[in-house]
């Protein structure tokens, strides 16, 4: 089965091609399009499952070695290359031949991602067939989604950096296409452009890093690069060498793709796209591409302590930054978007402190519960007839039970409640942050992470309370409208018509399938087109009672909820070894055991051996501080100091577990208190802490700052260059043209009067002389012509006999 993994990216592509190229021409029905799309992804998923099974658990299991399709399967010579000089500086140049092939690699890391992408993707595809029902562009949606699956799978299954880059760009493109799916709405178009451009900035860094990799190692294949990179010296903080440069470029790319500070601005705006898109791309798969890349190149990152510190700090900053914004947002999708950014920060924190495996573990559990929650939000939106503002929801649990119970599973998971999946990964991240010996300042990372976890629990509980519990607010007053305009008016106490939409993201109130038009800023136009009957600015709308979604929508929710509940058990940590009897229970099914072979161990300078997973934290009793000595003295280590007072590693671990559960509980209680038991208190506290509230609600004005500092300054530069070009350069060209014209006029005058005059005079003279003569010859009299003919004949004959005539005359 391993030989057939090349089908896995190809099948969604074929499905996308069918839907995209023929879907409209041959007028496929929605059922057919849906079946083609879902079928292709399902088939890809089945093949992935079979392949991963035979890779890791079958008879001739290849695990832990990577399996490349160039061994016995599909591969071709994609870029036949030339010589690359791999020695720089003063050494004599040594050339390696760069041939880039297109082949797929199945190894522990790519297998996990294959399963996540195809599995979660399958659930989302099924959901989307129900959610996008009635859309005119149904075929287009699934074509783009299939294309996205292809690109993402190429990204995670590629065997070299260039294939990863192809997939990287491809998912960026599909993100653009899908965010801008409602292309006739300006905020969707703007958001898609913003996403693509921000991505591109990251891609620039990534491309530079790839160039660096090729120049340093002479190859782009992972197996070649990492084998060579193993033996390079580690660059501690203060030393900055070529591997640090490469890691910097790679991390810039990851920031762009995975929405870390400062390139996070595109992700919240990307909620303008349809909800399945948000679930698939901006929760489960595309944004995790950055993490895939960082973990894939963990050799390079672990060689550069500075970059590890940078990754950890930026991850921590992003986590707390986004979490603090999420607590004040009113749009359900925006809350989830900021939650995604925050959780991605967590993942990068994990990678930064050296726990790459845990980062991937969190990717996996996050994919489950975040996709679940996005789809649940989509179900809520669908049931509320496209209402997205949480202030107009409430008490939905009795109208939408399936959605409610599945969403609750996701909520518990993200808050980190034991034994749901989120707990296992988040707790490990915080433990590794506290006990890391890779970088200094691990305790700051832990502290920031803990606070962010508290905020996470707070805003997620707030979301649950405002949406599913409490009073039903959707029947009151001006309810039923989904305009952000109306929501803004609600805030300011204005009449709804006087409000104007400022931010991107929400859908207008339209049923699916209706033409979605531009936002009206003009009051009269708004009234005329919507034809509201109203008095004093009050709307009278028919009450929209929310309804549960069809099975095509809640069945995937149930599947994902199940995964969110039990998905964490593949990563039961060493803290539970008294229960499970092993450090990492489950053999190959344990994620740490599974992924260790691709993680490079700085102490042994080799990739980890599969048996006996390494502890990231050194054991106090044994003096094997191998890793500590590798990275030097990393300053205050929180876990060590706790351990020194408790003298037991197990107890230390459980203290940290307890702390994280405690903060999760505090967050949940606060959320319930402010939004379930005493809802009025929320508004009062918002007024009391007005500056903080405003800062959080306006996303710390980052977009405005970028607009002023970057966008407008760039346009000023463009204008300056344009005026320079049009005045100076074009002026020179036009001036030269004018000179040429003047010159040509002068020469023309000379030619006309001088030269032509001369010629005409001569011609007239000759004509006066000769013309009467020649005219006399044209008599029109045939016999004259005959006479001349005969004379000529005589002359010819005479010439013929000239010799004889001369002889005779002599």
């Amino acid at each position: 089965m391993l030989k057939y993994i090349w089908l896995v990216p190809l099948l969604p592509l074929i499905g996308a091609a069918f839907n995209g190229l023929l879907g409209r021409k041959l007028r496929f029905s929605e059922k057919l399009i849906g079946r083609i799309a879902v079928g292709s992804v399902a088939l890809a998923f089945l093949i992935s499952v079979a392949a991963v099974y035979s890779y890791g658990f079958g008879g001739h299991a290849e695990w832990p070695k990577p399996y490349l399709t160039s061994q016995d399967g599909f591969s071709f010579n994609w870029i036949p290359g030339g010589a690359v000089n791999v020695n720089h500086g003063t050494e004599a140049p040594r050339f390696a031949l760069l041939n880039v092939e297109w082949s797929y690699q199945l190894d522990p890391l790519s297998s996990i991602f294959m399963l996540i992408v195809t599995g979660v993707g399958l659930c989302i595809f099924i959901f989307a067939t129900g959610y996008m029902h009635g859309e005119a562009g149904f075929y287009r949606f699934f074509a783009y989604m299939g294309l996205f699956m292809f690109a993402m799978l190429v990204l995670v299954m590629g065997s070299n950096f260039l294939m990863m880059f192809v997939g990287w760009e491809g998912v960026g493109l599909c993100s653009y296409l899908l965010i801008g799916y409602y292309f006739d709405r300006p905020e969707a178009a703007n958001a898609s452009r913003k996403a693509f451009i921000t991505n591109r900035i990251g891609d620039f860094g990534f491309a530079l890093a790839i160039f660096g990799v090729i120049a340093t190692f002479g190859s782009a294949q992972y197996v070649d690069v990492f084998t060579q990179a193993k033996s390079y010296p580690i660059e501690l903080i203060g030393q900055w060498g070529v591997l640090s440069w490469i890691a910097l470029g790679l991390f810039i790319g990851a920031c762009g793709k995975s929405a870390q500070l400062p390139l996070h601005v595109w992700l919240p705006d990307a909620m303008a796209g349809p909800t399945p898109v948000s679930a698939l791309i901006h929760a489960a798969t595309m944004v995790t591409a950055g993490l895939y890349m960082v973990t894939r190149t963990n050799v390079i990152f672990q060689h550069s302590q500075t970059m590890l510190l940078v990754v950890a700090l930026i991850g921590a900053a992003t986590a707390i930054f986004a979490a603090s914004i999420g607590i004040t947002q009113n749009d359900i999708k925006k809350v989830l978007a900021y939650s995604t950014v925050s959780q991605l920060g967590f993942m990068f924190m994990a990678c930064g402190v050296g726990a790459f495996v845990i980062g991937i573990f969190h990717v996996m559990t996050h994919a489950f519960f975040k996709a679940l929650m996005f789809l649940g939000a989509g179900s809520v939106i669908h049931g509320m007839h496209h209402e997205q503002d949480m202030r107009r929801m409430g008490g939905l649990k009795k109208y939408m039970p399936y959605t409610y119970w599945t969403f609750m599973a996701g909520w518990l998971a993200i808050c980190g409640v034991i034994p749901f999946s989120g707990f296992w990964s988040k707790d490990e991240i915080l433990w590794n942050a506290a006990s890391t010996t890779h970088i200094p300042l691990g305790w700051i990372v832990w502290l920031v992470g803990t606070i962010a976890a508290t905020c996470t629990a707070f805003y997620m509980t707030r979301l649950m309370a405002m949406t599913f519990w409490g009073k039903e607010r959707f029947l009151a007053g001006a309810g039923g409208e989904a305009d952000e305009a109306h929501a803004a008016a609600y805030d300011k106490g204005l009449a709804p018509h006087d409000a104007v939409v400022a931010s991107a993201g929400d859908r207008l109130r339209h049923e699916p399938g209706e033409h979605v038009g531009p936002i009206h800023e003009d009051v009269a136009h708004h009234v005329a087109t919507h034809g509201h009957a109203h008095e004093n600015g009050q709307h009278e709308h028919g009450a929209h009672v929310p309804h549960e979604s069809p099975p095509s929508m809640w069945v995937p929710l149930a599947v994902l909820a199940l995964l969110a509940v039990i998905g964490g058990f593949v990563g039961v940590g060493p803290a539970f070894r008294f229960m499970t009897g092993a450090e990492h229970p489950g053999g190959r099914l344990n994620i740490v055991t599974w992924l260790n072979p691709i993680i490079w161990n700085p102490a042994t300078r080799e990739f980890n051996a599969p048996e006996g997973a390494e502890h990231e934290a050194p054991v106090a009793a044994e003096g094997a501080h191998g890793e500590a000595s590798v990275y030097g003295d990393t300053g205050f280590n929180l876990a060590h100091s706790v351990q020194n007072s408790t003298h037991s590693e197990l107890k230390t671990e459980w203290i940290f577990i307890f702390i994280s559960l405690l903060v999760a509980g505090i967050g949940m209680l606060l959320g319930a208190y402010f939004y379930l038991w005493r809802p009025a208190l929320a508004g009062i506290w918002a007024k009391r802490l007005r500056p903080l509230y405003e800062a959080s609600y306006n996303k710390y004005w980052v977009d405005e700052f970028y607009g002023w500092a970057v966008t407008r300054r760039t346009m000023d530069l463009a204008r300056a260059v344009y005026s320079f070009d049009s005045k100076l350069v074009d002026g020179i060209v036009n001036g030269l043209a004018a000179l040429s014209r003047l010159f040509s006029r002068i020469v023309g005058g000379i030619d006309k009067y001088f030269v032509d005059g001369l010629v005409n005079t001569i011609a007239a003279f000759i004509m006066r002389l000769m013309s009467p003569l020649f005219r006399a010859a044209q008599t029109g009299f045939t016999q004259n012509y005959a006479l001349v003919m005969v004379l000529g004949l005589m002359v010819a004959v005479a010439l013929f006999f000239m010799r004889d005539i001369v002889n005779a005359v002599r």
Partner: protein, 159 residues
Amino acid sequence: MVLFLFVIMLVNVGAEERGRDEIFNNQRQVTASLIFCLLLVAGVLYAVNKGYGGLQARNKIPPDVASAQETVRDQSLPKSATGSSSITKDSETLAASLYRFASLPFEIASVLLLVAIIGSVMLARTLRQEASADDVDPEVLQVEMARDPDLAKLEPQSD
């Protein structure tokens, strides 16, 4: 030559008889032609004289011997029906060469005659004849019909 006479009868011969019109061209042309012809006469006579001398020098058989031989040959020819003359072999000799070695030019000559006949018929047709055979250009026909309305009657009835 008979045709010539017929044509002359058709064409304005009265002028010749009346003698009022000139029969020779203008003076200059006639003068130049006569001078030229006199030159030609001189030249031709001289050339024939000179040439014949050289020709005679190459004679295989001297002419009086040749004529004597010819007289002998003539006497050996068969006599005609009435006995007043003898049947020569001239036409036989001519035909033997003409229809064997010159058969291609012969055929070409016949084609040439055919072409000449057709051409002369076509050239000498009147407008009326051409109209009745529907061989006139429509534009020309319009112009001619304005001058001669009878032409319309001659046009072949088209169905």
